[in-house]
């Protein structure tokens, strides 16, 4: 009866991309896969599948987690036609509390390659959506995923985990945003064609920079790149006049000597009427003389400067991650209370039924005597016994809930309580299902641990 959440999978820390890509599923395949998984892994009562570029995980609920994990693992191997030995070493398996903890951490972007990156929450929501669509998400998964979303939201709100730039190109783009108010009227000039430079130019373009000039030592390269990025090619020999209109210059040339020097750049600045210019030097050796930074309204960042901006953001995110872990731990504790409460549900139902039966039997035994009484007296006796039973039940159930929720093995606690209170009358353990009595009880437990509906 003791159902547990479980997670089995691989991620960027345990498996290289060569392994991850063999197991990964496309978005379109997931619903069908969940259907197959349901057939082939009968030990899993509920399932969901998370597949992103950094992780492939099966999230499930099972009464026998060990068996369910084995079934899920062999399903993965068979379904993806991969030798299980290929990923066996990379596989992690979480059960119960650990599984919930892992799910919450994933959602809060604490398990991401770039801690704090915001995409994972959307991916998790998609995974949940597929499970709901496939009909493989039940009571526990619904609750677990929704909790994971609210934890993620709380972490975003209460910590600065998503702050700062964690890649060189995004740091450059963010700095451009600190210098310029809008990029739409700005001109970007790309000198040379390094991968990082191209990425930066692309991002600036995507953020609204309309005019893009591309220059390169070989004009053909410039033309090809300009076509790819939607810009205009400029011959390298005649790039100088264009500096007058360029607001962001990205340097990525392989040059032994800097192509921009402070002496002749002064003239450019005067012609620009001192409009600010952002020089992003991604070249090694550097393309722009570092003394340019001292000129008025010139902001020069070389690759190391950008790197240190990134490092600072990364370490700040790490600090914020500690705060996030506390939030996750709180949510975990409250979720586990709910999970444990779930184990008590059948026992509570049995106890309630058996005590109600006790009352009915006793009343039945005295039927003849009761019938002889005045109607008002009879009603009184019925009311009295009902109150007595209800008060007794309330006391027992409240005690059971509080001890059960904190006990390490709530199912065992529940069983003892049932044996004590139901005796021979106990009907054989009903399956955990969606009866009205059960749902009532769940709502009950809900109310004390939920801040966000």
């Amino acid at each position: 009866m003791d159902e547990k959440l479980l997670i089995v999978g691989i991620n960027h820390r345990t498996a290289p991309v060569a392994v991850r890509e063999r197991l990964a599923y496309g978005d379109g395949e997931i619903v069908a896969t969940l259907g197959r998984l349901k057939d082939r892994a009968p030990a899993l009562a509920e399932t969901a599948l998370i597949s992103t570029c950094n992780r492939v995980e099966i999230v499930g609920v099972a009464a026998d987690p060990a068996r369910a994990i084995d079934e899920a693992t062999s399903f993965l191997a068979a379904d993806r036609e991969v030798d299980a030995a290929l990923f066996a070493g990379a596989l992690y398996r979480f059960e119960g509390r650990d599984a919930v903890h892992h799910l919450f951490r994933v959602g809060a972007s604490l398990d991401s390659m770039v801690v704090g990156e915001p995409q994972i929450l959307g991916q998790l929501k998609l995974s949940y959506g597929y499970a709901a669509e496939a009909g493989t998400a039940g009571l526990v998964l619904h609750r677990a995923f929704h909790r994971a979303f609210s934890v993620a939201k709380r972490v975003r709100k209460a910590t600065l985990i998503g702050r700062g730039s964690v890649s060189v190109s995004s740091a450059a783009v963010r700095l451009a945003g600190q210098i310029f108010d809008t990029l739409s009227d700005k001109t970007v000039m790309l000198m040379g064609a390094g991968q990082m430079a191209e990425l930066t130019a692309r991002q600036l373009h995507a953020l609204g920079a309309e005019t893009l000039l591309v220059t390169s030592r070989t004009f053909d390269h410039a033309v090809a790149l300009a076509r790819a990025l939607g810009g205009t090619a400029v011959p390298f020999e005649s790039h100088r006049p264009y500096l007058k209109i360029a607001d962001i210059v990205i340097g990525s040339l392989s040059a032994a000597r800097p192509v921009l020097e402070p002496d002749d750049f002064e003239a450019v600045l005067r012609e620009r009427r001192y409009r600010p210019i952002f020089l992003i030097d991604l070249g090694v050796p550097r393309n722009f003389d570092e003394r340019l930074n001292a000129l008025e309204n010139v902001y020069l960042y070389d690759i190391d400067d950008l790197g240190s901006v990134v490092t600072e953001s990364v370490s700040e995110r790490a600090r914020e991650a500690d705060k996030a872990e506390t939030i996750v731990a709180d949510a975990l504790a409250s979720f586990m209370r709910w999970m444990n409460g779930l184990d008590l549900v059948p026992a509570i139902k049995d106890i309630r039924v058996s005590i109600e039966q006790l009352r009915d039997t006793e009343l039945g035994r005295h039927r003849a005597w009761l019938a002889a009484l005045e109607p008002s007296e009879r009603q009184r006796i019925e009311a009295l016994t009902r109150t007595l039973v209800n008060k007794l039940l309330h006391r027992i159930l409240a005690g059971l809930r509080s001890t059960g929720a904190s006990s390490p093995d709530p199912a065992y606690t529940a069983e003892i309580a049932r044996r004590l209170l139901c005796g021979e009358l106990a009907p054989e353990g009903p399956a955990l299902g969606g009866t009205a009595a059960n749902l009532d009880f769940e709502m009950d437990l809900d109310s004390d641990d939920d801040e966000e509906p």
Binding site: L160, R163, G164, L175, G177, Q178, I179, F180, D181, T182, R273, Y274, R275, P276, N293, E296, N297, Y299, Y301, D305, S308, V309, E312, S313, E316
Partner: protein, 275 residues
Amino acid sequence: MDTIWLPPALVCYALSAVGFVAGRTANRPRWTDQAVPLLGAAVLFHTLDLVFGALRAGNIPVTNFAQSLSFLAWLTAIVSFVLISRMRMQVLGSFVAPGVLAAVSAAMLLTRRGRLVIPDSLRSAWLPVHVTLAFLGDALFVVAAGVSLAYLVYESRLKAKRPMTPVGQTMPSLEKLDRINYRLLGWGFVMLSLAIVSGALWAEATWGHFWSWEPQESWSLITWLLYAALLESRIAAGWRGRRAAALTLAVFTVLLGSFLSVSLLFPGKHGGSFG
């Protein structure tokens, strides 16, 4: 001379100043968010204080240094509040709110030093017009100085390769700070010019001469020339950014000096001793 509305205004100013400064230094965007309505509430209370003060005095209440300070702080708070709520210039709060708080506190302490009655000769429709224009100009220059200070701080951080990490979305770009500085200077200059013209016309109507070279008049002319030069340097020579911000601050110190010295050291007609 102050009314019962000044203490609540002061409390709101203090809370909003704390919110702005602490929000920025402790990276708590929510504190900054809460400081904005507090500033609005402070302005509201302050407005009530001035309205009741004006009703009691029978005209615009700027007859002594304390009242002038309070009036200037009020206009500065309004200009800042508009910029903060309309142009998302939350950063201004941490520069301006403490200054406004200090000015209002000083006004409250000084205001006990008796009251001055406006002589009948000056009770005219020119008074509120002239005074409001002059103080609005000053307030715009105060805020321009705050914006320039923010510019210089951000700019030096950027140059030093230690850029600020924005908290929330409230960090304006250098370009925006520069543009707002320019606009504030422009409007401030317009107000100052109109104040001088209205003052001259009023003087003509009252005393029969436009200009009498009393301290405030001379200083106004000097600051007017300095601000004119500042605007000219931007329009003609394209001085902008850091240089413009530094000059704005420099000219502002002259303005501040003239405001204090005229009020405290050489009180002519403007300083409260109406000759």
